[in-house]
């Protein structure tokens, strides 16, 4: 789970998942928890390097029946196509360079006629070897030494079915971990990737994709491996080639769009993120709160409401991903993004206030869907405004079902389930290590005994997981339903009010960890600054580090996405600029404070650079954060788990509000009930369904909202600038009445 699922945080899927070596491959085949198997390869340290065969061996046609597709899988794969398209658009990498690479797929094949119980014979260029065989009694031991590729472990038969020479056969793909190339011996993972640089192909490392100058292939080696059929070949017919082309570097278009917005607004508003900061503190302290002005909530309450939608998984999981793949330098760029993002937020929230509609009953309807329509109409761009507004509204409704709902419930459910099943999971690991040892010792009885216990426990765990997911889905749906349909506002209010406290607890725990490593802090700070401008810190170079830092920060604080402006428009004030000033604090709190805390913990505990956690156990995202915390404060994992659930719940409530407002705008107030019912359904579905593509799709919707929104912000920014100049003059002249 850790590898696949957590990569999805924040809407990124396959950016760097291209090569994770054989751990990933075997993991998908053999349903063994990734952390369970200690995959040390030291069992065969003295194995001789193998010469690649001189010719391609006859091909085995795989005939392993595909597992039946469930209804859900079908739906999910339908969405997968949509996700692919959206990904291609949103994450289209501007300025990417193509690079040449090859992928090592060296393996031996052993086979036997189907249905026999005899040994597997190695396939050589002269046919089947009589001497080089694998006994079926050895299968188990060798499986647990992780020698097989794509082994079928469900029924513990390990071999795959296929066709060879017109006959039905059973075969094994056996990894070749060490190869001999002339004088040199190389240790390679199956699927190891080599990238061409200065005429040589260098191995892509598992940490931050750094190239390893000591492990390389020359073009003669490549030819040799290709002749042996030990390199991956893509394409078919005349286009088939082992010299593959990929893209590296560049910046995803959505990240560029968000950054351009943030930097432009910062300069255009003359650094208001900086000069308005003190004023924003004055405002949230209630200095100017006039209870008679129109609106629903105080400045502080509007900030709380908007924050509860933003603070969430991005702060806990996304940041960790940035640190692991971008290194400490990404921290610097993350902070920069938070800083510039403050002005994007300011601009959108000011406009939200400026164009909000106050209804007869004193409640408010405001946000991008209103200012795009009315604001752009004001400057003579009514048709464009109409289109952008509709686009934004539809995206926001979809995002409120997915990224703001199902995705949150799904991830928080997984976190809780993992926490609850921890004792069982560790027993499972012990059993697996026991089986492995017994298999290597060839103690068949013990293997069988342990295997039985293992499968019983696994069965129990998965049955529990099913029950748990349904239970969690029902409880969450009930809670959400009672708030948004039942109108029991005490639950929602409690959640909204607990979020700041939870944030504070999280920050304190982080500070505790950071301060307990205080000695390392100066060194870390130096590292952050040097790595930020060090082109060799990761493979993507300077731009790569920058993009990673900015991307994660932008996904977390959502500055430029426009959603927060819906909440801020409810504030009680007649000065739009004043509420915009309050909104400045949102990226500050979300990114510069909370994200930094997570990042510093990941950096100072060394989790970002810990090969055992990151490579061997494949931890990333929330799981890695959890691990880092656990190594420092053991009991804190429960608090973290509670925080994740709470953040998820409050995010769902806040996003339902955003979605509801958009629904009201698009379909009128009478459609709200339908929307609410759909919302609650999504909560349940999000808990029980494991459909990665559906979740990704909806999560990308949040990012898509930035396109219509920032375009509108650009066009309307002169108005904001003029209003700001006027407001600031009056503020400096002391013309505002104070109430506290």
């Amino acid at each position: 789970m850790t590898l696949c699922a957590t990569l999805f945080f924040g809407g990124i899927c396959g950016l760097w998942s291209s090569v994770r070596g054989d751990e990933a491959t075997q993991e998908t085949q053999a349903p063994i928890p990734s952390e369970a198997v200690d995959s040390s390869q030291e069992d065969t340290p003295d194995a001789e390097g193998v010469n690649p065969p001189a010719a391609v061996l006859p091909k085995i046609e795989d005939a392993e029946p595909e597992p039946a597709k469930t209804f859900l899988k079908r739906i999910d794969s339908g969405f997968a196509t949509a996700v692919e398209y959206m990904y291609a658009v949103l994450f289209y990498r501007l300025g990417a360079k193509t690079e040449d690479y090859v992928v090592y797929t060296g393996h031996d094949v052993y086979l036997r006629t189907k249905g026999t119980d005899g040994p597997f014979h190695r396939l050589t260029s002269e046919g089947l070897s009589d001497t080089d065989v694998i006994l079926s009694s050895d299968l188990e031991a060798r499986f647990y030494k992780r020698e097989f590729i794509d082994a079928i472990s469900d029924s513990s038969r390990y071999f795959r079915q296929g066709r060879y020479d017109g006959k039905e056969v059973e075969y094994l793909k056996v990894r070749v971990p060490k190869i001999r190339l002339g004088e040199r011996e190389l240790e390679l993972n199956y699927n190891a990737k080599f990238v061409k640089q200065d005429g040589k192909y260098l191995l892509v490392g598992e940490m931050r994709e750094l190239l390893d100058p000591d492990v390389f292939l020359e073009s003669a080696d490549i030819d040799r491996l290709h002749t042996a059929g030990w390199l991956r070949v893509d394409g078919s017919g005349g286009k088939a080639t082992h010299l593959l082309k990929g893209e590296v570097g560049g910046a995803p278009i959505v990240v560029v769009w968000l950054s351009i917005g943030a930097v432009f607004f910062t300069f255009y508003m003359r650094g208001y993120n900086f000069r308005g900061f003190r004023h924003s503190i004055e405002v949230i302290r209630g200095r100017y709160d006039n209870p008679k002005e129109a609106g629903e909530v105080s400045h502080f309450q509007a900030l709380t409401a908007a924050l509860s939608a933003t603070v969430g998984l991005g702060n806990i999981a996304g940041v960790t991903i940035a640190m692991t793949i971008g290194g400490p330098g990404a921290f610097f760029w993350m902070i920069c993004c938070g800083f510039f993002g403050m002005t994007s937020k300011f601009t959108e929230c000011t406009l939200g206030q400026k164009y909000r509609k106050i209804k007869a009953d004193g409640t408010v309807l405001g946000g991008p869907m209103v200012y795009l329509k009315d604001g752009l109409a004001e400057i003579g761009l009514a048709p464009l405004g109409f289109v952008l507004s509709i686009l934004f509204t539809v995206m926001c409704i979809l995002a409120s079902f997915g990224g703001g709902n199902m995705f949150q419930i799904n991830e928080s459910g997984k976190a809780l389930l993992k926490q609850v099943q921890r004792p069982d999971a560790s027993v499972l690991v012990e059993l697996e290590n026991g089986i492995k040892q017994a298999a290597i010792d060839k103690d068949a009885d013990k293997v069988q005994e342990l295997r039985k216990q293992h499968s019983e426990l696994r069965g129990e765990m998965s049955a529990f997981a099913t029950r748990f997911n349904i239970g969690y889905g029902l409880v969450m749906a009930l809670l959400v339903g009672s708030v948004i349909i039942g109108g029991i506002k005490r639950i929602g209010a409690a959640a909204e009010k607990v979020v700041p406290t939870m944030c504070l607890m999280y920050i304190l725990a982080c500070l505790w960890i950071i301060l307990s490593h205080a000695g390392e802090l100066p060194e870390l700070i130096i590292l952050i600054f040097t790595e930020a401008f060090n082109g060799d810190a990761i493979r993507g170079g300077l731009i790569g580090v920058l993009v990673i830092g900015v991307q994660r920060a932008a996904f977390s604080n959502e500055a430029g996405v426009g959603s927060a402006s819906i909440a801020h428009s409810a504030a009680r004030t007649e000065e739009p600029i004043r509420e915009g000033t309050v909104a400045l604090l949102e990226p500050f709190i979300d990114t510069i404070v909370v994200c930094s805390m997570t990042a510093l913990v990941i950096l100072i505990t060394g989790a970002w650079n810990n090969p055992e956690w990151v490579v061997t156990r494949g931890l990333s995202g929330a799981a890695l954060t959890n691990q880092a915390f656990e190594s420092e404060i053991a009991w804190f994992t429960w608090v973290l788990c509670a925080a994740v659930i709470l953040f998820a719940f409050s995010t769902v409530i806040s996003w339902s509000y955003y979605g509801e407002r958009c629904c009201e705008m698009l379909f009128g107030p009478r459609s709200i009930m339908v929307y609410k019912v759909l919302c609650v359904t999504c909560v349940f579905v999000g808990a029980v369904v494991n459909a990665g593509s559906v979740l990704d799709f909806s999560d990308m919707m949040i990012l898509s909202m930035a396109f219509p929104n920032i375009l509108g912000l650009f066009l309307l920014s002169p108005k904001v600038r003029a209003d700001l100049a006027d407001y600031w003059k009056r503020y400096k002249a002391g013309q505002f009445k104070t109430y506290k």
Partner: protein, 143 residues
């Protein structure tokens, strides 16, 4: 032909004034006109309800203020005003039956396209449910 008891559903949009004028023309005294505004049920997830002090009372107060402005504008302080919460079409026709109204004067939005399909219009519902005569005023600025 003068009416005794006229109900005017009010949404405080631009078409409201014309409806009130029409109603006032049809009665002898402004006390024979009742203005009704129907609110949708309070949503329970807005920052206002969760953290602030938005409630049905606060919403009624706001609407009452709006009513007072209307009364002042039409110099008809005697008009009755009422705020109800629920489905506008049903609440309006129920209210008219409750007070034994002999006419409802209602502006029509004239929605088109999607909104028409999904919403129909309040006027349509009132016509369908009302026990008394309904006078529908076509809005000049219909969407």
């Amino acid at each position: 032909m003068k009416k005794q008891n006229v109900v005017v559903p009010v949404d405080f949009s631009d078409s409201t004034d014309r409806a009130i004028e029409t109603a006032l023309d049809l009665v002898d005294s402004s006390s024979q006109v009742s203005l009704i505004h129907v609110l949708f049920a309070l949503d329970s997830i807005s920052p206002g309800t969760l953290l602030g002090n938005v409630s049905d009372e606060s919403r009624r107060e706001h609407v009452q203020q709006k009513f007072d402005e209307l009364k002042a504008r039409h110099s008809a302080a005697d008009m009755n005003t009422v705020v109800r919460i629920g489905n506008p079409g049903l609440e309006i026709s129920d209210f008219a039956s409750d007070i034994g109204a002999d006419l409802i004067v209602i502006p029509s939005h004239g929605y088109h396209g999607m909104k028409r399909l999904i919403l129909g219009s309040v006027a349509e519902r009132v016509i369908r449910h009302a026990d008394c005569d309904v006078l529908v005023l076509r809005r000049n600025d219909s969407e």
